[in-house]
């Protein structure tokens, strides 16, 4: 039987929406039994949320003071210990999962499939390479454990309605003291989350300044959208790093993605391939973004964005 362990990302209060997508991915594995493991100082609240996800068999709480901040070096030996009872170990392809899962895989001597986008069988999967320019099908040896990060944009969230058993677990694992959490600088939480928003407005180098970027925030607020950016806009300091969309930023799948003053470099496009509708506004009719856009407008953004904002209702 296949037993899938999902490492559940959370911030103490909320389960990350990526977890529900990992559950859908895991449900694709035939005959799989799904367990979500939650590491934290107190995971009672998030365990209750995880237990509701449809198709989850059990939820394990590993509450320990050292788990207050998710440090890969601290969590990996604990995940590896739990993995003894499982055939597959999954985590989301977020900065949390990307940091942690390879460390787990190495401790297990297991291969990792990064950015798993489709399950073909318990040991056969598809994943993108070369910034999404090619999709490979890989086969793993069933005799070994398999570790994967799940490409969140490829799966719908599992619904609620389940009632998995929640259990606390104490693991007899020595934890290193060589890695210490110092602090975090996070963006305001009043903005919609880029990774889960149904609508995204995104800006590129053409915006020219952080002040001009405000134009996009106003449009986004009006239509209820999160705001993203190209690497060039982030590098230039117009937008914060967590707003970067693309091969080395966030991979997103909104209903609508509005790219404004973004040329459409391959590294950017790989982040928006799964958007249902792509809108592009660019003054250069030859810009590669128009090759993938569902709706394109050749225009100067400084003229059309304010008008765009006026024409839509809140």
């Amino acid at each position: 039987m296949n037993k899938i362990l999902i490492v559940g990302e959370h911030d103490g209060a909320h389960l990350n929406p990526a977890v529900a997508k990992c559950v859908t991915c895991a449900r694709g594995i035939p005959g799989g039994e799904i367990t979500i493991a939650l590491f934290g100082a107190d995971t009672a609240a998030v365990a209750a949320q995880a237990a509701q996800l449809g198709g989850v068999h059990s939820v394990l709480r590993i509450d320990r003071a050292e788990n207050a901040h998710p440090l890969a070096a601290i969590l990996a030996p604990q995940v590896a210990a739990l993995a003894a009872e499982h055939t597959h170990v999954f985590g989301p392809s977020t900065s949390f999962g990307k940091d942690l899962m390879p460390r787990v895989a190495a401790l297990l001597g297991a291969p990792q499939v990064s950015d798993l986008m489709a399950v073909e069988s318990a040991h056969r999967f598809r994943r993108p390479i070369y910034a999404g320019n090619a999709i490979i099908t890989v086969e793993a040896d069933p005799a070994r454990k398999l570790v994967a990060t799940v490409r969140v944009a490829s799966f719908e969230a599992a619904g609620v309605g389940g009632s998995a058993a929640v259990a606390s677990r104490s693991l007899d694992v020595a934890l290193p003291s060589h890695t210490r959490y110092v602090g975090a600088k996070t963006a305001g939480t009043d903005r919609l989350d880029l990774q889960t928003a149904a609508r995204v407005v995104s800006g590129g180098r053409a915006l020219g300044s952080a002040e001009n970027f405000q134009m996009l925030f106003r449009l986004a607020d009006k239509i209820g959208a999160a705001v993203g950016a190209s690497r060039a806009a982030v590098d230039a300091g117009y937008a914060a790093n967590e707003m970067q969309v693309g091969q080395t930023g966030k991979i997103i799948a909104p209903e609508i993605y509005i790219a404004i003053g973004i040329s459409g470099a391959i590294q950017h496009l790989t982040g928006i391939k799964d958007a249902k509708t792509i809108v592009a506004i660019n003054k250069d009719g030859e810009a590669p973004i128009f090759e993938v856009a569902d709706v394109g407008l050749v225009a100067d953004l400084f003229q059309v964005v304010p008008e765009f904002e006026r024409l839509v209702s809140a």
């Binding site: 890969a72 977020t94 070369y130 490979i136 210490r180 975090a184 407008l297």
Partner: protein, 250 residues
């Protein structure tokens, strides 16, 4: 700070538009320009800056791969690495295998820091640094956008989904770098000449006592799904109209 090891991968240049072979057996690599993985250039640049600030320290560039990887190691030497080591193999190298090779080198060289790019732009795996840290039983600081050396510790600011996070790690440690850590220097012609005289050793996996065996079999390579060709609109009014009709905005 005595020694810094930097892992460098030979990859298809980021400007190349990679195409899948019609028979699905892989991607077309014949005659394609190969370069140092862009993230590894940033890793090397950081090592060189630490060396320059400290007024010393040896920077060793290492790689695992085919004989031609010597070209990328020569580039690393031209950028300023002091010497280079290539673990030469013709076999495909998975991240865990690369981590095993780097572990063997780390045990020999005893670096204070091992720098790597956060991911390679060919397989986009984002695994090797974390795996090396696990096997070496040392700290990892991934996605670094700022590195401060404080004696036998390092404070590393990391780019994470929610913004920035700072952690402190004891050295030796593995640090994987993100795009905004620095801007790599350009290589000048005299540096290329000088690099030709710097030592570049080649070792076999067997000599290091490591097995690079593959664990994942690639059975097929497909091109990505193509998007349908879209429409062009003449002005914002029409754009808003189209989006309203699709029910995407109000």
């Amino acid at each position: 700070m005595q020694k810094i090891m930097v892992c460098v991968k030979r990859v298809v240049d980021y400007n190349v538009r990679v195409r899948v072979k019609p028979d699905g057996s892989g991607v077309m690599l014949d005659g394609v320009k190969m370069s140092v993985n862009p993230f590894d250039e940033i890793a090397l640049e950081e090592a060189l800056r630490i060396k320059e600030r400290a007024g010393g320290a040896e920077v060793v560039a290492v790689s695992v791969g085919v004989a031609d990887t010597q070209q990328q190691l020569r580039t690393a030497l031209a950028m300023g690495a002091d010497r280079a080591i290539l673990v030469q193999t013709d076999a495909p190298v998975e991240p865990l295998a690369a981590a095993r090779a780097f572990l063997a080198l780390a045990r020999k060289e005893n670096p204070d820091i091992v720098f790597l790019g956060k991911q390679a732009i060919d397989d986009d795996a984002n695994q090797t640094g974390q795996m090396l840290a696990a096997l070496w039983d040392r700290p990892q600081a991934t996605y670094a956008s700022k590195v401060e050396i404080l004696g036998n510790k390092a404070a590393v600011t990391r780019e994470v989904d929610t913004g920035l996070e700072t952690i402190e790690v004891d050295l030796p440690a593995v640090i994987t770098v993100d795009l905004r850590l620095n801007e790599p220097r350009y290589v000048k012609l005299p540096d290329i000449m000088k690099a030709k005289k710097k030592p570049l050793d080649t070792v076999t996996p067997e000599a290091l006592g490591i097995d690079l065996g593959q664990m994942l079999k690639v059975v097929k390579t497909d091109p990505p799904a193509q998007r349908q060709k879209g429409i062009m609109v003449k002005d914002v009014a029409e754009l808003v109209d189209v989006l309203k009709k699709k029910g995407l905005i109000r």
